[in-house]
Structures are given as structure tokens and as C-alpha cells.
């Protein structure tokens, strides 16, 4: 699903060069749930931004779902991002003056779906995260956990192949975090590949594989047996 080979990312100013990633290698299979851990400044976010086509890398190779992304122009990268990827952020990143319905609608608009298909997808996605009844509400009217569920619905609405999550439970209390984590596991069980950056060792051990990054390089790969997900009700 995602393969990076000898990838490097260097931030340059007129004074200094910072190597965020160097000789970075990773291979994520279709359907995997991979957590990425590492100390602050280790390169986790740079990795996630490059994986999400939000930043360009300096050198190396990056294959996303069989497509070599090197040298792609902004339009092609944006289209690929829209079709293949879903994002979940620590700060939820919902657009405050759009209703939940319209927030989930945003990536579908860029995809070019017609009105009927968009409506169906939005309703399905919000139903999946248990927020069908609040479609007309605005983000400020929801709890943090509910906002993150909307962000997950938005990420899922376009049926992405890879879900990128950057500390998705970082701003949530334990109970809400558990609910979000269970939802992600359920989504993964349905076949969506998930790549999640986290600081939380407890969440890291729940994934199938943990990638530890230190100084811009993969330090450790731990493969575990897949977690069995039980059906459950959502709480937030």
C-alpha cells in the first residue's frame, strides 16, 4: 500500500540544514494498522506529511498504492490525496462555520461526485460514527470526541485506501480516546489501511505493527498478531 525507500527530507534555511528523515525505509501492506512512535523531533510528523502528500521529500522513492509520487505536480498530488487518503488530526481540523454534513461534504466535492452520491456517502459516514442525528449541527456544538468522530467520518466518506492519523486521541480524555481507538480498529477490520502517529504506548501496542522512529530513521519494527475487534457501541 505504501512503500518508502531510502527517502530523505531536508529542511534548508540560508543558515542551516535539518535532516528530518534520512535513509527512511518503510513498507505498509494493504489492510495493516501501523502505529508510528518516536520522541519529539524524531521525524514522525515529517513522515506523515510526506506519506499524506502534504510535503515533498528531498530524495528517495515513495510508492503509494503502486503509484510513484516523485515529481508529481500539485494537481496530480491533490487528486491522489483526495482519492487514496483520509486524514485525522489531533486538533480535529473541522471547518467551524460548516455544518457536520457540509464538513464531510468537502472532500467529496473535490472528488466530483454528484449530489445524490455525496448525500448517500455523507449519511453513511456519519451513521458509521454514530452522528446521523446531528448532521445539521456545527462543530462548536459537539464534544471533542464527537468532533473527532466527524473528522473520521469525513476521512472515510471518500472510501480512502489509507487513513493517516496524527495523534487522533491526543486532545481527548481517556474514555473518548478509547471510543475513537475502537472506531479506528473497526474501520481497519473492514479493510482500510491505517497509519497512526502516537505518543501513547498503550495505543501503540494495540496496533498490528509499531514503527519507532529516531533521528529520522526507522529504529525498530515490531510485528504483532492482528487484534481481534469485537462489535461495540460508540460512546464519546
Amino acid at each position: 500500500m505504501l512503500r518508502m525507500k531510502n527517502l530523505s527530507k531536508i529542511y534548508r534555511t540560508h543558515m542551516i540544514e535539518t535532516h528530518a528523515l534520512r535513509g527512511f525505509e518503510i513498507n505498509v501492506q494493504q489492510g495493516e494498522f501501523v502505529t508510528v512512535t518516536g520522541p519529539s523531533g524524531s521525524g514522525k510528523t515529517s513522515f506523515l506529511n510526506i506519506a499524506g502528500l502534504l510535503e515533498e521529500f528531498t530524495d528517495g522513492e515513495y510508492i503509494l498504492d503502486g503509484i510513484n509520487v516523485k515529481g508529481m505536480d500539485d494537481n496530480a498530488r491533490s487528486r491522489l490525496r483526495n482519492e487514496k487518503l483520509g486524514f485525522i488530526f489531533q486538533g480535529f481540523n473541522l471547518i467551524p462555520d460548516l455544518s457536520l454534513f457540509d464538513n464531510v461534504d468537502v472532500p467529496l466535492r473535490y472528488r466530483g461526485f454528484n449530489s445524490a452520491e455525496r448525500k448517500e456517502r455523507i449519511e453513511d459516514a456519519l451513521a458509521k460514527v454514530g452522528l446521523s442525528s446531528r448532521m445539521k449541527h456545527y462543530p462548536a456544538e459537539l464534544s471533542g470526541g464527537q468532533q473527532q468522530r466527524v473528522a473520521i467520518a469525513r476521512a472515510l466518506a471518500g472510501s480512502p485506501k489509507l487513513l493517516l492519523a496524527d495523534e487522533p486521541t491526543g486532545n481527548l480524555d481517556t474514555q473518548m480516546a478509547r471510543g475513537v481507538m475502537e472506531l479506528l480498529e473497526e474501520i481497519n477490520a473492514q479493510g482500510t489501511t491505517i497509519l497512526m502517529v502516537t505518543h501513547d504506548p498503550e495505543l501503540a501496542v494495540r496496533s498490528q505493527r509499531n514503527v519507532h522512529i529516531i533521528d529520522g530513521q526507522v529504529a525498530d519494527l515490531v510485528r504483532k498478531a492482528p487484534t481481534l475487534v469485537q462489535p461495540h457501541s460508540h460512546t464519546a
Binding site: L54, S78, R79, N82, V106, D166
Partner: protein, 438 residues
């Protein structure tokens, strides 16, 4: 996507109401100032008779004295003497021609409730009505035969006819003017030609004055020695008496030719030159100045109907619009800078830079449309204020549909131009940076 972006644009108007209101107001004020001055310029400089403006020509022949004249000087006057006017009326080149001059008469109404009053009129030949396509409400103008016989006939303006006879048709009735009975042959409909190109000289408000109240045949007016109302230019002494005045080189008559085709202009010029040469043999026109012909647009230009002050006002108004634009750019930068997070989110969700550019540009278009709407109201207000300044400005200070469309176009264009830099900057947002900082 246009519809989606337009809807987002409408929503964004509500996002920072104070900032939005300030932007819309800034744009509206700039647009209103520009449109108000441009409207006046547009009406003033418009072609009053576009389908034949190149076929209606004014001759300028310099019959001034040689003393004190240097070659290249401006002609003595733009009007003709009686001798030249009557001679040129006999030309065989133009399809139609008319000589005209302003008159002032005393009208004695038949109605007992109306006292005697003075009216401003025009003495012209019968071709006048067809040449300038004067609209008639009742009847018609007089005939060439009545020109020839200097018949006592009159055409009234609609305003004067309504004053004297109400709404009824007075054609055939007799009206006492300057103690003589005149038969009414026609009543004009409202004749709002702007600028009044045929009557620039000798009226208080020039090309933007009121229409004349009545029309008499040129020969009749001369026969009755009707009081002139206009400019007259005489050099040297003239003998006493009206006939001496007619025989003099005094210039007081405006003259117009109408050609059948604009291609005949050369032939008319030749005719004018040969006429002047012939007159020189008689001891006249010793200046040997070039004889000139001006079509309607050239005539308006030559007579400086649109003054330099009007043009300067328009430039100043556009300068003000530029100032407003600079302010709008600042306000848009402020408005869009707080949207960096949204740009980051949209980019992460699949929007390309081009799509963000389109979205923000359409948002500025919405602001432009709102500014145009308010600008239109302000422009109407400004024109109403301008119209209150003078009678002449009342004629020109009105907006037509062209200017109305231009108001919106200018406002949207101004907003888009103002929005280019802020929109470009919004597109440069690094999504990763914005998403992390949330």
C-alpha cells in the same frame, strides 16, 4: 464547483461581518464615485444621433476682417452671416440643409387665465425637423413652400402646447405671437436629445439646456424682424437698420448640412471651397482661412462640450477608486489570513492550489457584487446630488442600463483585482504547517 464556491462566498460574507461590511463599503464608495463621474462623462460625450452623425455637418467659414489676423488663428466665429447662410441654403450638394438662430417672442394666449409671456424659440428652415429627426406628437413641420413664402406658421414644443391647450390637439389653431397671428402646423413630442448638438451656441446651458418652446420659419422670423436670442459677432461698424444688419458680415446663424452619404463629404468640401473663392472675388473672406466641415462628433469635440474639468473629475474619481482598492487589498489580506487553517484543511482533503485560488477569487467576486449593489445605490444618490447643482447637470446626471451594468462589472473587476494578491497568498499556505498548528 462554481455554485459551491459562490455559496461559500455568500457564507463568508457573514464570517467577519464588520470586516466584510468595511470592504463592501470601501468598494462601493470607490465604485460610486467613479460611476457617477463616468455617467456624466458618458452622457456628455455620447453620440446624440449615431446613425447619421457622420452625415450631419457644420460649415465654418471665416469671414472676419484681415486686420490683426495671423494665418492659423481660430476663425472669427463658428456661426455664419445672413448672406452666407442664405447663399449656402441654395446649395445642390447636400440632401438637406438648414439655417437656424435663437429667437425670443411674446406669446399672447387665447385663454383669458393665462397672461402674455415670453418664450424662447428657434427660427429654422423646414428641413430642420427631418434633419434632426424631431419627434412630432401632432401635425408636422411647415413645408418648403411655406419657407419660401415666409408663411406665418409655428410649431410648438409639447410643453408649450400643454401650457396653452392642455392635452388637446391644437394643430390648425391660431396663436398670437409678437402681435401677429400664426397658424400651428405641429406640436413636438418630448425631444430629449443629449447633448443638444444642433444648438450649442447661444443658449445659457449650451449643449445641455432646455429644449426650445416654439419654432418659426427662418424667412418668416427674418421678415418680422423677430428679436434674436443668441450670440452675434460683428467686427467694425454697421449701418443702422435691420436690412443693414442682414447685409453685414455679422455672424449669428448656425448652419447644418445633411449629406445623403458620408462619402459626399469631399464634394461638399469642394463646394464650400469654391463658394469661398467666389466670395473672395467679391472682396469678402480676405483671410483665406481654410473652410472647415465638422460632423456631429467632431463638432461636439471642437466646441469642447465635454470640458477638461469633466475629464479631470473622472480621472480623480478613478484615482479614488484605486485608493479604495488598496484599502480593500489590505482588508482582504486580513480576512484571508485568518482562513489559513481552512486552506490547510481543504488542501489536505484534496483541493489543489488552483481550486483554492478559484474559491477565494469567487469569494472576492461575491464581495464585488455586494459592493456593486451598494455602489449602485450610492451612485444614484451621488447623481441625484449632482443633478441638484444645476439645470444642465440634471440633463446629464442620469444612469442608463449600460452604466448600470458597468457599475457591477467595475465593482467585480475591482474586487477581483484587489483579491489577486490575498488569494495568491492564501494559495501559498503550507497545509502541513497549518494542520499541525491547529
Amino acid at each position: 464547483m462554481f455554485q459551491y464556491y459562490f455559496m461559500l462566498g455568500l457564507r463568508s460574507l457573514r464570517r467577519n461581518p464588520a470586516l466584510t461590511a468595511l470592504m463592501v463599503l470601501t468598494l462601493a464608495v470607490g465604485v460610486a464615485a467613479s460611476i457617477a463621474t463616468l455617467t456624466i462623462l458618458h452622457v456628455m460625450s455620447g453620440d446624440p444621433i449615431p446613425h447619421k452623425s457622420d452625415r450631419l455637418l457644420v460649415p465654418v467659414i471665416d469671414n472676419g476682417p484681415l486686420a490683426g489676423y495671423t494665418a492659423g488663428d481660430e476663425p472669427n466665429d463658428r456661426q455664419l452671416s445672413y448672406r452666407d447662410a442664405t447663399n449656402l441654403l441654395a446649395n445642390k450638394v447636400a440632401g438637406r440643409s438648414t439655417a437656424l438662430y435663437g429667437i425670443s417672442v411674446a406669446v399672447e394666449p387665447a385663454r383669458k387665465d393665462l397672461p402674455l409671456f415670453n418664450a424662447r424659440g428657434l427660427a429654422a428652415t423646414s428641413d430642420f425637423f427631418n434633419m434632426f429627426e424631431v419627434p412630432f406628437r401632432y401635425g408636422q413641420g411647415w413645408s418648403p413652400a411655406e419657407d419660401k413664402s415666409a408663411a406665418d406658421v409655428v410649431v410648438l414644443s409639447r410643453k408649450l402646447a400643454e401650457k396653452l391647450y392642455g392635452d388637446s390637439d391644437p394643430v390648425g389653431q391660431r396663436l398670437r405671437i409678437n402681435g401677429q397671428q400664426y397658424q400651428i402646423t405641429g406640436v413636438l413630442d418630448t425631444w430629449n436629445v443629449v447633448p443638444r448638438f444642433h444648438r450649442i451656441i447661444g443658449t445659457p446651458d449650451g449643449a445641455f439646456g432646455d429644449e426650445d418652446e416654439l419654432y418659426l420659419p427662418f424667412a418668416t422670423s427674418v421678415r418680422h424682424e423677430t428679436q434674436r436670442n443668441g450670440n452675434s459677432s460683428c467686427s467694425g461698424d454697421i449701418a443702422p437698420g435691420y436690412q443693414a444688419y442682414l447685409d453685414s458680415e455679422c455672424t449669428w446663424i448656425q448652419f447644418w448640412f445633411e449629406l445623403r452619404s458620408a462619402r459626399e463629404r469631399g464634394a461638399l468640401q469642394d463646394y464650400l471651397n469654391s463658394y469661398a473663392t467666389e466670395q473672395r472675388k467679391l472682396g469678402r473672406m480676405q483671410r483665406q482661412a481654410p473652410n472647415k466641415l465638422y460632423d456631429v462628433r467632431e463638432w461636439l469635440d471642437y466646441m469642447k462640450v465635454v470640458g477638461n474639468d469633466n475629464k479631470l473629475s473622472a480621472w480623480l474619481a478613478f484615482g479614488f477608486l484605486v485608493l479604495c482598492l488598496v484599502n480593500t487589498i489590505g482588508l482582504l489580506l486580513a480576512k484571508f489570513s485568518v482562513r489559513a487553517a481552512e486552506v490547510g484543511i481543504r488542501r489536505a482533503l484534496g483541493a489543489s492550489r488552483r481550486e483554492i485560488f478559484q474559491q477565494f477569487l469567487i469569494e472576492t467576486t461575491v464581495i464585488g457584487l455586494a459592493g456593486g449593489l451598494l455602489g449602485l445605490l450610492l451612485a444614484f444618490g451621488a447623481l441625484a446630488l449632482i443633478a441638484m447643482q444645476s439645470k444642465a447637470l440634471t440633463v446629464v446626471a442620469h444612469m442608463d442600463w449600460q452604466m448600470l451594468l458597468l457599475t457591477f462589472a467595475l465593482s467585480v473587476l475591482a474586487a477581483v483585482v484587489a483579491g489577486l494578491l490575498p488569494t495568491w497568498r492564501a494559495c501559498q499556505t503550507t497545509p502541513a504547517l497549518q494542520l499541525k498548528s491547529q
